[in-house]
Amino acid sequence: MTTKVLVVADIKHGKLKSSTPELLSKARAIGAETAVVAIGSHMESLIPRLADAGADTQYVADDPGLELFSAGPWASCVAEAAGRFAPDMIWFGFSESGKAVAPRVAARLDAACATDITDVKLEDGRVEITRPAITNKVIQRVQVNAAKLVAVVRAGAFEATQGIGGTQNVVMLSPPAPDAGAVIKEIVSDAGGEIDLADAGIVVSVGRGVKDQAGVALAKQLADDLTAGFGSSRAMVDAGFMPHSKQVGQTGKIVAPNLYIAIGISGAIQHLAGMKGSKVILAVNKDPEAPIFSVADYGIVGDLFEVVPILREEIKKIRS
């Protein structure tokens, strides 16, 4: 029996995020039949993209009541799609919404639930997943015994297959009842269009070495050049220069981008815990003995106020 995988589309500001095609590609790669469920409002322009992303059935819940995220109604939509598609696995991309909805769906469907998975395999008809635990200090190989699995996939864990494509087969879902118990009043948005640290391909992070707001701005320019996520060590958050939501580290966000650029970060153990999963690490620090150099693939020992502008120049040159 072919495995069936239902992917929950990750939509932000009306756009499909990269996790959706990535998850669908992986599902195809393990030989599963794929479907996607997309939830929101004003979905018309998005629907054609869903098939292209790699889904053969597209379950869509399009309702003005779904304009603002609310975990309850979202879970209902996913459950309804699951009821119709009868998947073996339901995958969410790594987002706050995904993390809020997945356990609800798992509870309703009495499914196994796994967060932050980095790999999934089918072994003798059984699903086996791999995921980190104990704040990234250890990796678990887990065998799923339950009939169904609901999983939240780590950002960037899977690769999207180019031009994957799928069959257009749209099924409209009935709009769910709003959650009377948790009424969303408003959303105070981050500085518009901020790139999510969790799924950014490149992250630029600042540490105490940047000293002050001017230093932060300098590093932010580099981040903007690269359309990178902008993160921070705990020191800069504690000092009030960066919000907690930008903190990369043990008690902040754990990120694993393709490129992590650490500017003026010394490399305390708690910070390293948050970023050492990155593919490539570039560090800029004045102190040649800074611990960050023990994990950085490329380390530039120098004054960041000198180096960052040069970095921007060189990157511009390379790109043109």
Binding site: D110, Q143, N145, G181, I187, S294, G299
Partner: protein, 261 residues
Amino acid sequence: MKILTTVKTVVDVELNIHVDNGAIVEKGLQYVMNAWDESAVETAVRLKETNGAETTLVSIGGGEDTDKVIRRGFAMGIENGIQIDDPGLAQGDSSVLAKVLQKVYEKGGYDLVITGKQAQDTDNGQTGIMLAEYLGLPCVSNAVAIEVIDERHVKVSRLGDTGTEIIELALPAVITVDVSINEPRLPQMRGIMMAKKKGIEVMDLASLGPSLEEVGARTPKSKIVEFIAPEMRKAGRKFEGDASEITAQVVALLAGDARVF
């Protein structure tokens, strides 16, 4: 207002975790209150101080470590403590724990459940949300601020994908909190001394009510096959010298060898 806080005893993540033969090496490990639950306890205690709420703490687990963790909660200001000590629950996943907590909740009749959003050993972030599902209660996860509106409503701010979501929550409800919600207080001498003498209501699962089957402990939904040590990152190349030269060099390497640009 009656508040139930759940607290997990977990390995201290400041320590190195060693893996031997697919299993975690227990020697030398110490166990502490889950950092997210510390914030949950702090949230509950602050609500006690400002709104006169009655606070109860529940922890599933046995041994000296769990006892210490519960008493730490007392020292921080929690009034009542419940411990569910049953070896059959030792391997229980989030859904099992949530079902046990469901029974604890139903026994006590609370207005608000506050838990940490995730545990630092499993990194799952599921138990609190599943508990809300089983209880059929509204739930907000990843809360960074809570404000009491009246007896039946609280205003919760949560960190969402597009910004901070402001949600009006009707009680009874479940809230899971992030560490950024507050700075948990350090237990002080007086609290610690009082906590030593306070009684904890200890129960095994049977005394609580359900059987191991009912909470799903006999039929685990998944099984950890092995633990693997993550690959140690090694130091790469360090460049010192003239800033323009070495930066250009590095960028060339990043574009060439590493192909990140």
